[in-house]
Structures are given as structure tokens and as C-alpha cells.
Homo-oligomer: 385 residues x 2
């Protein structure tokens, strides 16, 4: 199995791009990534996208985007795993290079979230839940997150305001990121007065869906240093699953898939959680941030929120997270999110994160979730010395 | 790069399974494949599915099906490349084993085509075309196939009845296959009197969408013989793309993606087209069958139909195709089709095809198309000696 390196990154701002469809969004990120890597052609394109068929009436995105990006003829496919589609696309790209079949692979995450609005969008978003036993009863992702958060608060005696720190941190970081959907800091007291989305989940507990695209280029590690000055090693790449429906889980307050995926990635890399210096977690809801900190070995069960309260996850803390704003402030372009995470961590490891830079980290973790953790994909990146 | 072998196959009959949803369809094929391989657990599940989000309001199928099939926790994802989703899932499974990361992978193709009917189904099927430049103008796959067929007939002076042989062959073979959707032979004269779908495409030029699921199990070739009596080697696995929209192709009468994918697979296997003894082509429309025979090196351009007329593609011919009925008679369960092709060819190479057996072939080709050839996936299978 060949070692794999990341040699190019590209992204466009997350937002409401009313003038762009899927292919136009994709093109900006692809061109930026190819330029960053200094190459013009790849062997394969892997597209992470969650809802193109539902939100834009467009499936078959692999071939469509390969053609539009000037890559006609390459192997191309779409990978879908709800909002873990981007991380899963990265995992497939990793396998293509690791196998030796492909020398250079372009991994794209793209989502066009704003082609539908209101109940049409809600219906599309709910297709990541169990259609027969959750969405069919009217449940939405926010609604299910609310049940989960309520249960967590009850079991561990955690108050709503203890989740506030995650949002404050995300917005403080997003304010510095030119690619972020929301660049506003949260004013003191704003969290407590925020409109309720699905009680107890409020506006600042939940991330906004946005249009976006991000891309990375992978190649064999042995050739990476010949191509770029600062290649990033992919030290771990692993995925795992759990039930879609929360009510089927043996213990809904433990993200089993995230635990498995992170554990497999740690094992591949030969490291322990304490070795991770910066992380991007899937903070689509603050309750998921707390649960991921616990599942990935950074906090004891029931104590995830303490890492927000004591500053551990801040830019000066022991494990900075959401360093470019996370899903909360950078925005959540669903199937593109996992690739944005990889782009952002690569920039951190290269020392090219600008105002968002957090020290000089060597090891980084990305954790990308599908739905409420039915799928989890973990990647560990390392700065090559 | 490790050699890969196929050690288990499973399928359910293609048809209108009104009493089953995606997970139930999947389960039958998965259980059959696990039983066939004599194993109970795998490292990863790769689900090929084209339209679950549109036809069943269910995305996130990897985790959903992993859980329902008793595989909770494994890495699982959905691969989508229109009706080439199944072949593309197989390609991803191949990479997972070839890379060394996974020892045993379950590749599933599943489609629930009958949850929507009429214009709702037509709209969903059209998401495999270019939404902005084809489907948005009212085009459907059958409509676009009609334009292609008309152009072919005009350029090469081919008459409509010269396509008849493909359907007669498919139905003759499907009549013997207990898993086929249509088990009727075509009566003499039936083709000429068939209702028109989109002139000149008639009912017997086009394959019926159906519900279905098929599964195969892949593992490293070096261990395959320890597990099963008759492992099948995967000698080639390759994909390629073309424009979705026909009007953007430099030469619409040449399936560039099919040519590239087959060519790459031949090269991997170190063989030439004449070495192939049995093939499953993507006969969603008879015009595509003719064009694939030409693109994959079996017939000169404009002469594909002659292989139907002279019996070359029949069970006694030099290149039997659609040996279990093809998409035309076995049925076209869209994202599952590519996995059905693999199951059927594995049965042929094992000598376990029953009434559908065509001699004792050593080398087989599967060609799976997305849409009108925007995506093509080629696999070459070999009987291990």
C-alpha cells in the first residue's frame, strides 16, 4: 500500500451563490486546486455531493463536472454519504492512489443548497435520515438533533448555555476567513437570545447550509516532494457507520461511528488522540461537537462542553477546532464540507492559514459526519518534515 | 497493487417488488452473496444506487443498508454514476481490496424504481442527463436515444429492423433466467409491430426499469482459492467519461467513454478484444448495444448490427451477449445493473449458468454505461485455472 500525500488545495467562498449552478461552483475550486499543485491533468475525479439529485435535479455529477472542468475522459464518479460525502470522496481518492492504479486524483466536494427553498429544501435535507422511520414521520435533521441534545442535557446535567462556547469560537474564527459564509462575531448575550430552531437547538447551535465547493489533489507520497514545496501526508483515512435512526442505537449519546472511524485512523497513523494538535469536527449542531470530542478521545463522556468553557478548543487552546469557522460560521455546504475540512487543515499544516493560523501544528484530524452520525469519516494529516 | 478476486455472488429477481423498499431488496442479494462466499462479515460495503434520493426520498444508503444487513460499523458509502453506479461501485470495491486497506469488500447494486410512476418517475430518470441543457428542455433518456438512433440509421444506411436481433437474443436468453423481469421470447413479427416509445425507438429497443439488487464479494486473489472452489479473477477494472449532453460530443456516433474504459481494461489484463469469449453490454437501448460493440473493438463502425443479424451475439455465436437477458429482458434496475452483469459473468465463468450457460469461457467483459454513455465502466473477469 502506497503512502498518499495531498499536494493541492482549492476552495470558493461558502454562501448563497444565486448565479452559479453545481458545475460553476465546482470549476472555481478545481481550478484553484490544480493551480496550487501546479498541474493540469489528473487520472481521476471523485465528486462528493449529497443532494444534487434532490436539490438541483442533477445526478451523474462525475462525468458532468469532469467535462466542464476540462478533464473529459478521466474516470469520474460521485460519492454520497449524506453530509459525509466529501470526507468519503477523500477516502475513495486515498484508496485510488494507495492502490497504485491512479497517480494523481482530484477530490472535489460540491453542493448547491440554494436551488430549492422552504419545504422543498427541508424535504431534500431529510433524505439523509431514515425515510421510513424518521423523515416519514416528519422528522428533520434539526428536529432529531434537538432530541439528542435534550437527552444529553438531561443525562449529564448540562445547561444550554454550556454549548455557547462552541459557537462563539466558530464565529470568532469565521470572522477572519474570507471564504466563510458568516464573518460576524457573536456578541455577548446573543446566544441566550437566539431564535429557537427546534427546542433546545437554537440558531447558533445549528450550522447554515450553503453553496460551496472545495478540492484537493492527492498523489503518491514518494513523488510529492518533487512536485510541491510543502506536501501533506495522509497518515490515516477511515470510515465507519452506525444506524441512521437514533432510536435504533444502543446508546444514542455515544457516536459509535465517529469512535470507530477515528480509532481506525489513529491506528493507521500509529498515534493517540493527545498527539492531535488541531482538528476540524463536524459541528453541524453544537451537540454533535460535544459528542465528537468525547467519541474521538479528547474528552470524557458528558464533559465535551467543558472544552468550550475552558478555552481548550480556541485558537490558543490545546486542541483548536473550527479554525476557519467550522460548519457554523464558514457554513455547511453538505457534501462539500469534508473537503473544506481537508483544505483548511492542509493550510494549517503548511503554515499558510493567515489570520486563522494556530501555531505550527504537525498532526491534524478531520472528522466528517453524515446525518446525525450514521456515517463518520476520519482523516489524519501530517506536515512532512 | 494486489490482484483481486470475486468469491461470492447474490441476486434477487428483477421486477416490480411492490412489497419491498431499498433495504429489503438489498438484504436478499447481500445474504445470498455472503452465503455463496461462505463468510459472515466484510470490511466494507459499497452501494451502487442511481436514484434512491429521487425515487424513494432516501439518500445515505451506505449506512442504512449496512445496518439492515447486520454489518453495522463497517465502512459504507453510496456510489452514483447514473445507471453505471453498479459498475462504478465494483470499481471502488476493486480499489479498496487492491490497495490492501480492505481484505473483503461487499459490493451491492440496488435500485427501487417503482416507488414513483408516470411523470414523477420520468423526471427522476432524466436527472442522469444534463439538467441545464437536456432535461431542462424536456428531454428524456429515451428521447435522446431516439435522436442518436436516427442519426446512426441516417449515417450508415441502417434500417430499423436490423436492430431486431439484439432484442430477440436478449429475450431468448431472458426466457431461461429465473431472475429475469421478462421471460417471454419475442414472436416473429412482434418487433415490427411494437409500440413506439420515441420514434424510432420502440418498446423492444428499450429496456424496462425494474426493482432489483445484486451483490458480489471481492477479496485478495492470493487468498481466494483458500475460501472458495472457483474464484474469479478481476483482470481489469477501469472507468472513463464523456459529455453528458450528446450535442457536445465531437462525434456522437462513437462512444468515447466506452472505448476508453474498455481500452484501459484490456491493457490492464494484457488482452485484445478478440480474447473476450462472453460479454454483458449495457443494452438499455439497442442503439447503445450496436455502438458498444463498435467502441469496444468487436465490430467496425456502422457494422454493430451485423453481429445481431449473423448470430454472432447469440448463445452459439463468437461473442454471446445478454446471456441472462441483458437489460432488455432481465430488466434494468439502473444502479444495480452493473453488479448484475458481474454476477452473471461470474456464473458463466464458473460454469454455473445453468440453462443460460454459453460453453466454457475463460475471459469475460462487462460494460456498464451511465446515461447515454457519459460514464462507462469496464471489467474483465477471468476463470482461475
Amino acid at each position: 500500500m502506497r503512502d498518499v500525500a495531498l499536494i493541492g488545495v482549492g476552495q470558493i467562498p461558502v454562501g448563497e451563490h444565486w448565479d452559479m449552478g453545481l458545475r460553476q461552483l465546482a470549476l472555481g475550486a478545481i481550478q484553484a486546486a490544480l493551480h496550487d499543485a501546479g498541474i493540469e491533468q489528473v487520472d481521476a475525479l471523485i465528486v462528493g455531493n449529497a443532494l444534487g439529485g434532490n436539490l438541483s435535479s442533477q445526478n451523474h455529477l462525475g462525468a458532468l463536472i469532469a467535462d466542464y472542468a476540462g478533464l473529459r475522459g478521466v474516470s469520474a464518479l460521485r460519492v454520497e454519504a449524506a453530509d459525509a460525502s466529501g470526507g468519503m470522496a477523500l477516502h475513495q481518492g486515498y484508496l485510488a492512489v494507495a492502490s497504485g492504479l491512479a497517480e494523481t486524483v482530484l477530490v472535489l466536494g460540491v453542493e448547491k443548497a440554494t436551488d430549492r427553498t422552504g419545504s422543498e429544501r427541508d424535504t431534500a435535507l431529510a433524505t439523509v435520515l431514515d425515510a421510513d422511520y424518521e423523515a416519514g414521520s416528519g422528522a428533520t435533521p434539526a428536529g432529531v438533533a434537538a432530541l439528542l441534545m435534550r437527552r444529553y442535557m438531561h443525562e449529564y446535567g448540562v445547561a444550554l448555555d454550556q454549548f455557547e462556547g462552541f459557537s462563539v469560537n466558530a464565529h470568532a474564527n469565521g470572522a477572519l476567513n474570507p471564504f466563510a459564509m458568516y464573518r460576524n462575531r457573536l456578541r455577548p448575550g446573543a446566544f441566550a437570545k437566539a431564535p429557537v430552531v427546534a427546542e433546545p437547538v437554537n440558531l447558533f447551535d445549528s450550522a447554515p447550509e450553503g453553496d460551496g465547493a472545495a478540492a484537493v489533489i492527492l498523489t503518491a507520497a514518494e513523488h510529492a516532494a518533487d512536485r510541491v514545496a510543502r506536501p501533506i501526508r495522509v497518515r490515516g483515512s477511515a470510515a465507519a457507520t452506525d444506524t441512521l435512526a437514533l432510536h435504533n442505537r444502543a446508546d444514542m449519546l455515544f457516536l459509535q461511528a465517529a469512535n470507530l472511524a477515528a480509532g481506525r485512523a489513529y491506528e493507521q497513523a500509529g498515534i493517540v488522540p493527545a498527539d492531535i494538535e488541531v482538528a476540524e469536527l463536524h459541528d453541524s449542531f453544537t451537540i454533535l461537537t460535544a459528542l465528537q470530542l468525547e467519541a474521538a478521545g479528547f474528552a470524557r463522556r458528558g464533559e465535551g462542553c467543558q472544552m468550550a468553557a475552558d478555552g481548550s478548543v480556541g485558537r490558543e487552546g490545546r486542541l483548536p477546532i473550527s479554525t476557519f469557522g467550522g460548519l457554523k460560521a464558514r457554513g455547511n455546504p453538505l457534501g462539500a464540507t469534508g473537503v473544506y475540512q481537508a483544505v483548511e487543515l492542509a493550510l494549517q499544516l503548511r503554515g499558510e492559514a493567515g489570520d486563522n493560523q494556530v501555531g505550527t501544528p504537525h498532526l491534524a484530524l478531520a472528522l466528517n459526519l453524515g446525518g446525525l452520525g450514521g456515517t463518520a469519516v476520519a482523516h489524519i494529516f501530517e506536515r512532512a518534515e
